[in-house]
Symmetry: C2
Subunit: 291 residues, 2 copies
DNA sequence: GTCTATTACGTCGCCCGTAATGATC
DNA sequence: GATCATTACGGGCGACGTAATAGAC
């Protein structure tokens, strides 16, 4: 059974004539006759009685006609739907992400997303969350993945993905003791981590000295590992592979902002960005029912 | 878009491999690759991402897969359903009918039924209703069309189709007057018409003389037209084309049995007979909605 | 090195078109 | 005689198979 046969059959019934159907289909009449004949032979029934002047549906023909219409209709629907999804599959997507993402597997997300949407050109930009939010404002990135600080401006919308904790990291073999006089490594003033450090130190009753300024979490860890000082940082980064450091849990750990998906409020996400947002959220769910 | 492409695509996804799908389909792998490629080209989207070791559905592929399964499932259903109807289309059907059928167009019914069920071999047997009922008892006919008399044995089931009236027919130019001394033409004793004649005459206070016995309604009319006598008969027969007679309505016309479809109670109708029964009943309805 | 998908290429099938025949009004 | 469907026959497109190539583990 071929689609062509169903199309021809429907046309013959609709026009009530092999000749008119053939004209409508832009083919010769014998082709129509042959296909109808083949269909009848395969199904083993007569579909319509020909009287050279008029055709009439048999009971089997009536049944087939109804089913054929359904099938052909669904086929048209498939073409439309796939084309619509295809439009989403096109386009560009720029994602901004900080280094510290905790349990969020950005690499895996990008890989599976690219498999599911190979037509979308992906670009990734990393940096501190403040810089990335600036890129969001300027329309340079569609979505930002990073820590969501408490003082986040309300022109952004947030979807939380994972929690994060704060730990103290020191060089290996560094004696545990008072932190008051330790040199600290931290991000530049104005960064979220710097605020966390000050908050924690103030709670402990001292002003931290920050002689070393790093430009990213990875750098902080490298500097600490080299013995230049100590630092507070996200637990996930401290525990991930990298330069060796001693990780010390904090008794009264300040709140570290969780990792979230940020977008510009009021600016509608592109279809590609919306698809990626859903994809990341879906990936965070522990049980992923594939179908 | 071809059915073959949908089948191949579904097989590839189900097996998770071009090679296994090809083996299952009993074709070579390149044929599968080519068809999937054609499908993707026509739809303008990538359906699955190949990594030579594993295939993954894209979003468009997932959508198409769901639709394809529906369509292929419906196609299987069509084959089954048509085959089932095809079984009904086969077989033999023997119909018995009396001459007098009133507004029931048996010829038309047989013609349209044959157009709708060309695979059913039709046979028609005519005669008096008593004979036909005998044929029904002996299994020689599946259905009987004819007048349904009041004394019908309850081993038959009845579906009424049309009413019938009784008229008096006389030769042309015959003077209207008392019927007491007229010679009557009628069917043999025991027939339904004979009973009707006696009932009417008794009501009028006389015993009818029946010197002429005919073997069918048409014969009655011919004998009356020839001037041999008068008769009571079904109005439809009297008014239909044939030998000229004078039709006289009766003041106190006895009830003439209506025309009905008779079958043997307890004996299940063959599929062909059931279809014909429905067909005749449907044809009797004034408005015939074709779809 | 093995397994898998793609590309290359030749062959066969079948769908279509033209022409002739048959049937019905 | 006109119209319509069917048969007869030839050509061309396309799907399949075999073989070779490229890529992933």
């Amino acid at each position: 059974m071929e689609l062509r046969q169903l199309v021809y059959f429907e046309a013959v019934v609709r026009h009530g004539s092999f000749t008119r159907a053939a004209a409508d289909l832009h083919i010769a009449q014998p082709a129509v006759s042959a296909q109808i004949r083949l269909l009848e032979t395969e199904l083993g029934v007569t579909l319509l009685t020909r009287t050279t002047r008029r055709i009439a549906l048999t009971a089997a023909g009536e049944l087939l006609l109804a089913r054929a219409k359904r099938i052909l209709g669904e086929l048209d629907g498939v073409r439309d739907d796939v084309a619509q999804v295809g439009a989403v599959l096109r386009g560009r997507l720029a994602v901004g992400a900080t280094e510290v993402l905790g349990t969020v597997d950005l690499g895996g997300a990008l890989a599976t997303f690219h498999r599911r949407h190979p037509g979308i050109a992906l670009s990734l930009r990393t940096g501190l969350v403040a810089e990335l939010l600036g890129g969001l404002d300027r329309g340079e990135v569609d979505l930002v993945l990073g820590p969501v600080h408490a003082d986040l401006a309300d022109r952004y919308t947030v979807r939380m993905l994972a929690a994060e904790d704060v730990v103290l990291v020191t060089p290996l073999g560094h004696p545990a003791g008072g932190l008051r006089d330790e040199p600290f490594v931290c991000l530049p003033p104005g960064s979220g981590l710097r605020a966390i450090l000050h908050e924690a130190a103030t709670a402990a009753g001292f002003e931290p000295a920050v002689p070393f300024e790093a430009s990213g979490p990875g750098e902080i860890r490298a500097l600490v590992s080299a013995g230049l000082g100590v630092a507070v940082m996200a637990g996930s980064t401290a525990r991930s592979p990298g330069p060796p450091v001693r990780v010390v849990p904090l008794d009264q750990a300040p709140e570290h902002p969780g990792i979230g998906l940020l977008s510009r409020r009021g600016r509608r996400l592109s279809p590609a960005a919306a698809a990626f947002r859903q994809h990341v959220i879906h990936q965070m769910r522990p049980n992923v029912p594939s179908r």
